[in-house]
Amino acid sequence: MTATAPRSLTSRRPIYLGTRIPSPTPTVLTTTPEMLETGDVLTINFGPNHPSTHGVLRLIVDLYGEDVTGVEAVIGYLHTGFEKNMEHKTWWKCITYPERIDYVSFQNNEYVFVGAVEKLLELEVPPKATWMRTLLNELNRIHSHLVWLGTSALELGAISMFWYAFREREQILDLFELVTGYRMHTRYFQVGGLAEDIPRGFYPECRKFCDWMPRAVDDYETLLTRNKIWLERTEGLGLLSAEDAIALGQSGPVLRGSGVDWDLRKSDPYLAYGSVDFRVPVYQAGDVYARYRVHMDEMRESVRIVEQCLDRLEQMDGEPWIADDRKVVLPPRHELHTSMESLIHHFKIVTEGFRVPEGEVYYAIESPRGELGCYICSDGGPKPWRVKFRAPSFVALEATATLMKDALIADMIAIVGSLDTVMGEVDR
């Protein structure tokens, strides 16, 4: 018996009856003894170095002909000990780490850590910073979905998709560079707000992108949405029911592709999501194609959110972009030449780091891949006692065994790809 989803949030017609989660280990699909007795079961290693595994994912696959009879995901090839390292750094130096955990949705990761620290500090963030964070998180969502779309389509043979998706991704990276000075791993969010004011010229450039992007999504959909080959490679594959998805902790596009209307931006609004108008796309089929449709629709909705953020931000010229709390936030640069007090604060924060009150906090946001959570524990000192990330990709891989039931080896690429995993985040 497993957890059930409330009726109101889930689909009308079940995707399949009962549960398909393997037992007793929910994440390992084992070959039946009768199958093994045939002597025709071949065990192969798929990865860790394989061009279509999205990084260093290793799958141990049992094959009977082309049928997959068993599968187990083996991870850890990219484990770099981020969490241990962060315990060793001051709070504000830690901000560079989360973005490297999920190197495709870096700004969402950056925000979840900064947001958790702010929650523990109970720090008020100025509205300009909140709106700019919302804007950048949404641009980052489009960026992440484009990388997913380009690479997954590439793996299924749609090579031109890759070039189209990376064309628009390039424009987003240019926007990031304009704002922060870096194309990836921007470290633009500071505890208390933004590191710098929004540069002149960003709004018109961002508007140009917003005008262009919906047409680009139209292009992608023309290539794929009703493409016969694409439909045959994705429809009805990798089925996951709403109940199984919730029991397996799935979130983001995987959960919404299984017909559960669940998005933390709507159900538990953070940043400025409570005051923007957008739709949460939900598809009922629970297959690879449904997850693809969710991704496409989300890109359109993200453009709408970015436009609304721009409308607000354009009226906020001259407003502060970071909180004025001298114990946490670096004082303005020009004050260092005239104010002894500011110089002391600057020195203390840079050498010793600011202190975060004792306590523990779990802060979760909707990253492009689903629920991204950050647990931090502070002992009242200048360094975190413990940092833990709830990585949506890590959890998404738990569904592999359920999705691969009765699948063919060739479909494995489409199914695992549809989970949108980033191995940096899985292994941390």
């Binding site: 497993t2 957890a3 007793p24 991870i75 484990h79 315990e87 779990y362 360094k383 738990e398």
Partner: protein, 182 residues
């Protein structure tokens, strides 16, 4: 009178920065978890986090314990506390972050305290998603999970020594190739 009085085996209830923490004993965990899932609507397990509190509140400790060179108050960024933090009941804490996937989107933290060598039952029967999380807690923190069907290392090599996220495991503990220290 609180909303959580009916939770089986409830030892303590805390609210801090808007987050509720319920503490139960390891022996009552499955019962409490089942109650929270079936009767309180927490159908979604977000995350399991194990925390090591070894050295919590000791002078000069903020980060980890025990390197070759040690750490002292004169090293930048290791200054002491403004106030010594409150003592913890045992060395390890297992935190189960629960979410209710429903209209009200509530969250709660279920906490279990453990000493070295104490075992905590697996919550896979309640939430199947616990599988990887528990393997990670075992791998990196050395938490013994009882009745886990597939308890083996997940992120590190099978022959790895020790559990790196423990506070007595030094940063940079492994030898660096060609550094002259091998």
């Amino acid at each position: 009178m609180s909303d959580w009085d009916d939770v089986p085996g409830l030892r303590e209830e805390r609210v801090h920065v808007g987050e509720t923490t319920l503490v139960v004993d390891a022996g009552d965990l499955i019962e409490a978890a089942t109650y929270l899932r079936d009767d309180a609507g927490f159908n979604f397990l977000s995350d399991i986090t194990a925390v090591d509190y070894l050295g919590w509140g000791d002078e000069g400790v903020s980060g980890y314990l025990g390197t070759a060179g040690g750490r002292d108050l004169n090293t930048p960024m290791t200054q002491g506390y403004q106030a010594v933090p409150a003592a913890k009941p045992k060395r390890f804490a297992m935190n189960y972050h629960l979410l209710s996937v429903s209209e009200d989107a509530r969250r709660i933290r279920l906490q279990v305290w453990l000493d070295e060598g104490e075992r905590v039952p697996s919550v896979i029967p309640v939430w199947p998603t616990a599988d990887f999380h528990e393997r990670e807690a075992f791998d990196l923190m050395g938490i013994a999970i009882a009745e886990h069907p597939n308890l083996k290392r997940i992120l590190l090599d099978d022959d790895w020594d020790g559990h790196p996220l423990r506070k007595d495991y030094p940063l940079g503990g492994e030898p660096v190739r060609f550094s002259g220290e091998e």
